[in-house]
């Protein structure tokens, strides 16, 4: 996921980036859907930040496709519902559904793209460190970091098992081969479980007592905080400005 670049955004401490991303999403979510001007400004601001992080736009849009399964029902909302109908092109749409649906799509897209900026400008390892600094329970961080370390190992193992199956003439075709695949999944589970035990043994051998080493924490300057928080602050400004214009 991570793209290596040297930008101000890449250099920010990861926990500040996580806080900034969450705050931005909170501002976006609390904006009423009808304030469409604010959403235009949010997108503009988001694209400026993407540009600053030197993330290529094709990459951004390709990765944003991940939200499609989640917004699928939002897209259907204008077609089913009750109440006032409006004519949009060839479609007869429900007004309520249209507003609610487009709200979900727009807010969802802003959220997903924010997450993409975070994950593209921060290594997975750094995100975990950030979560640790944000006082996420140590156990959860440990589990996630072990997953990060061993996902390749388990994946390679799965790949080898697949090659070994296929070398003996196995082809996955329909329901009949499910039994074989299920057995393989079971074997993989047992192997991973046993590996877990061996890893634990090797940890005990080196004096593990339930805590993983933690980085020494440096004090973060106010200016760094300010730069990181610009992301949600500008969004908040847009929100307030829009509200003021709206009431005038």
């Amino acid at each position: 996921m991570y793209l290596h670049r040297h930008t101000a955004i890449h250099a920010l401490p990861s926990h500040l980036k996580i806080i900034a991303a969450i705050c931005f999403i909170l501002v976006v979510v609390s904006t009423p859907v009808t304030q469409w001007g604010a959403f235009l400004a949010y997108f503009l601001w988001l694209f400026i930040v993407v540009k600053m992080a030197q993330i290529p736009f094709p990459t951004l849009f390709k990765r944003a496709l991940i939200e499609i399964p989640f917004i699928f029902f939002a897209i259907l909302m204008p077609f089913f519902g009750t109440g006032e109908k409006i004519q949009v092109g060839p479609f007869d749409l429900y007004r309520e559904g249209l507003i609610a649906g487009s709200g979900i799509v727009v807010k969802g897209t802003l959220g997903v793209m924010t997450a993409i900026i975070l994950s593209t400008s921060t290594t997975a390892r750094e995100i975990l460190r950030g979560l640790e600094r944000l006082r996420l329970p140590v156990l959860m961080v440990q589990i996630a970091s072990f997953m990060l370390r061993y996902v390749n190992v388990v994946n390679d193992e799965m790949e080898r098992m697949k090659v070994a199956r296929e070398s003996r003439g196995f082809e996955a075709t329909g329901v009949k081969s499910w039994k074989v695949l299920a057995t393989a999944a079971g074997a993989l589970f047992i192997r991973s479980y046993e590996r877990g035990e061996r890893v634990h043994l090797s940890m005990l051998s080196r004096g593990y007592k339930g805590v993983l080493p933690q980085e020494h924490q440096h004090k973060i300057k106010g200016s760094v905080w300010f730069i990181a928080m610009l992301y949600p602050l500008v969004a908040a400004l847009i929100f307030i400005t829009q509200l003021l214009i709206g009431t005038m």
Partner: protein, 246 residues
């Protein structure tokens, strides 16, 4: 006489399912000695290793490491023992679990209480010893198998152990990696127990060998003598590679 680095007396062990793995093992290793622990599969080699740092509790007999009794019930003492006995496991992926090489090497010394610059120094020294210093910030899964094995050795060296225990150090290595590891191991000034059935490797690195079979030590002597005794080797399912002569 000095205290031996490792002193095992009448060690016996049965797994909870009743399967007995060790039947009274006696072994003494002097400081600075390099000993090959040979034996066929299922001879109890790994079980014996697991006793050396108290992972398996001693149920019968006794083990002393540099004069200190291995007692898995005594938490403080077991912590010291684990710092003294450095085990390098067979699969480096079992041993290297931290996100980067340096963090992994730091894991042991960190648990022993080192912090800051002192910790960094120990990590760099250990990586230097195995020639992996330039890889310190790389994630382990980006390294070759031979490099991971070397880092695994460094993770243990960083704890400055009294005795280094290697489980099949030459397995799965290509010839060059195998030789490089041998050079590294030879350069270390440390007591070493090497579990293997790679007989040429044992011959190359260890002056003394012991054979473990069926849970007892059946031979203990100069590696040269053991490896030239073909009747002894055959009786213990050990064989020199074809074409190899001493």
């Amino acid at each position: 006489m000095n205290t031996p680095s490792l002193e095992i007396k009448e060690l016996a062990f049965a797994y909870p399912d009743g399967n007995q793995a060790l039947y009274g093992v006696n072994l003494s290793v002097q400081k600075g000695e390099r000993v090959a622990l040979l034996g066929p599969n299922g001879a109890g080699k790994t079980t014996l290793v697991m006793h050396m740092n108290g992972i398996h509790p001693t149920s019968h007999g006794s083990i002393h490491v540099a004069g200190q009794l291995v007692d898995s019930k005594n938490k403080d003492s077991i912590k010291e023992i684990r710092a003294k006995v450095g085990i390098v496991f067979q699969d480096p992926d079992d041993q290297l679990f931290m996100p980067t090489v340096a963090e992994d090497v730091a894991f042991g010394p960190y648990n022993m209480g080192l912090r800051g610059d002192q910790l960094n120094k120990v990590v760099d020294e250990a990586l230097q010893l195995v020639g992996m210093l330039e890889f310190r910030d790389r994630p382990p899964h980006h390294l070759s198998f031979g490099q991971r094995r070397r880092v695994a050795v460094a993770t243990v060296l960083a704890m400055k152990p009294e005795i280094l225990v290697l489980d099949e150090p030459s397995s799965n290595l290509d010839p060059a990696s195998r030789r490089e590891l041998a050079d590294i191991l030879r350069s270390l000034d440390i007591t070493m127990v090497m579990v293997t059935h790679d007989l040429p490797y044992a011959y190359e690195l260890c002056a003394r060998s012991v054979i473990l079979k069926g849970g007892v030590i059946v031979a203990d002597g100069a590696t040269h003598e053991i490896l030239t005794n073909s009747a002894l080797l055959a009786a213990n399912r050990l064989e020199l590679p074809v074409g190899f002569s001493i």
